[in-house]
């Protein structure tokens, strides 16, 4: 979380926190070996977000979200969950100052409509930010 925010502050761009159950957080966004191990230990079942989330993240990357962190929706993160209103399988977009820009359910049906709403929300936040000169590498 701190790392995500530090990078967001450096880049002056939003970052995202993905809230998930304690179990899901272990494998979502992880490599094939971790997924295989999890499936083997869980009767060969996997949460659908293992497949859905990479697509969602890809869309948010193209909107300029620079960093993604995951947080278990558990006691340890109670304050974080309460601060952002996070629930299982939700992605919270956070400004570099730590304020919430928007929250999106990853499993709530149509990816296209979620992406369209997210684009508008992030764009509205961006329009409120002071203009930065573009850097060329």
């Amino acid at each position: 979380m701190d790392e995500g925010q530090q990078i967001a502050q450096l880049k002056k761009k939003p970052f995202a926190i993905y809230f998930a159950s304690k179990d899901e957080v272990k494998i979502v966004g992880e490599n094939a070996d971790a997924i295989k191990q999890y499936a083997a230990a869980n009767g060969n079942t996997l949460p659908t977000t293992v497949f859905e989330l990479p697509k969602v993240i890809d869309q948010f990357r193209s909107m300029g979200v620079v960093e993604f962190v995951k947080a278990a929706n558990d006691k340890e993160n109670r304050d974080l969950v309460a601060k952002y209103g996070g629930a299982n399988s939700t992605l919270v977009i956070v400004a570099p100052d730590g304020s919430k820009i928007g929250i999106f359910g990853v499993l709530n049906g149509n990816l296209n409509s979620m992406v369209a709403i997210a684009k508008t929300t992030i764009e509205a936040w961006r329009n409120q930010q002071p203009a930065e000169p573009e850097k060329k590498p």
Binding site: E3, I7, I35, N44
Partner: protein, 187 residues
């Protein structure tokens, strides 16, 4: 019976995941689309740092190696960029795209698994000549660096070269052994 069927389906899914290759990683985040009669699979978007100085800062925050991708000025417009940029490029280039469009997200995926934390794209133009010389960077080459900026490894982002990145993995592993990371808690 139904449970067995579900199990078989998952076993099949796992079998596919077990052979995660560049292609699988790409397909996970992309759909096949047709632009003016030409079919492409949408490659993954890459979050590029603004420049090498920023990449070094991010790498120091993450305490992980970073990668510099050297690319021609023209191809830099689309590699790791959004679909809109790709469509605009195709329109201006007779509906063609370079192979690196698909290969680079795969290289990113593979090196991310090895522990690379962030990426910067450097177009090969005059202003970046010194940087290219410093890292021995050439067209379509990915250079892996320590957070200090020291070069660790390099490889060409071609399907052929990426079939065996053991040498790159070894160099990153050696750096990680000297710079142990705190174990991630999954939070």
């Amino acid at each position: 019976m139904e449970r067995s069927l579900v199990r078989i389906v998952w076993v099949a899914v796992i079998a596919v995941l077990a052979s995660v290759t560049a292609r699988d990683a790409r397909a996970a985040c992309g759909d096949k689309i047709t632009v003016d009669g030409v079919s492409i699979i949408i490659p993954a978007v890459v979050t590029w740092d603004a420049d090498v100085a920023e990449a070094i800062q991010v790498a120091k925050i993450k305490k992980k190696p970073f990668a510099i991708y050297f690319v021609s000025k023209e191809n830099s417009k689309i590699v790791g960029e959004s679909l809109d940029a790709i469509k605009a490029f195709m329109k201006a280039n007779n509906n063609t795209v370079p192979a690196c469009l698909a290969d680079v997200p795969v290289a990113v995926e593979q090196t991310r698994e090895m522990g690379v934390g962030n990426y910067v794209k450097v177009p090969l133009r005059k202003e970046n000549r010194e940087l290219a010389e410093q890292y021995g960077g050439s067209e379509n080459m990915m250079v892996i660096c320590a957070p200090t900026g020291e070069k660790l490894a390099a490889f060409a982002c071609t399907t052929e070269a990426m079939k065996n990145l053991d040498a790159v993995r070894k160099e990153i592993g050696a750096w990680q052994a000297k710079n142990p990371q705190p174990v991630a808690s999954g939070k």
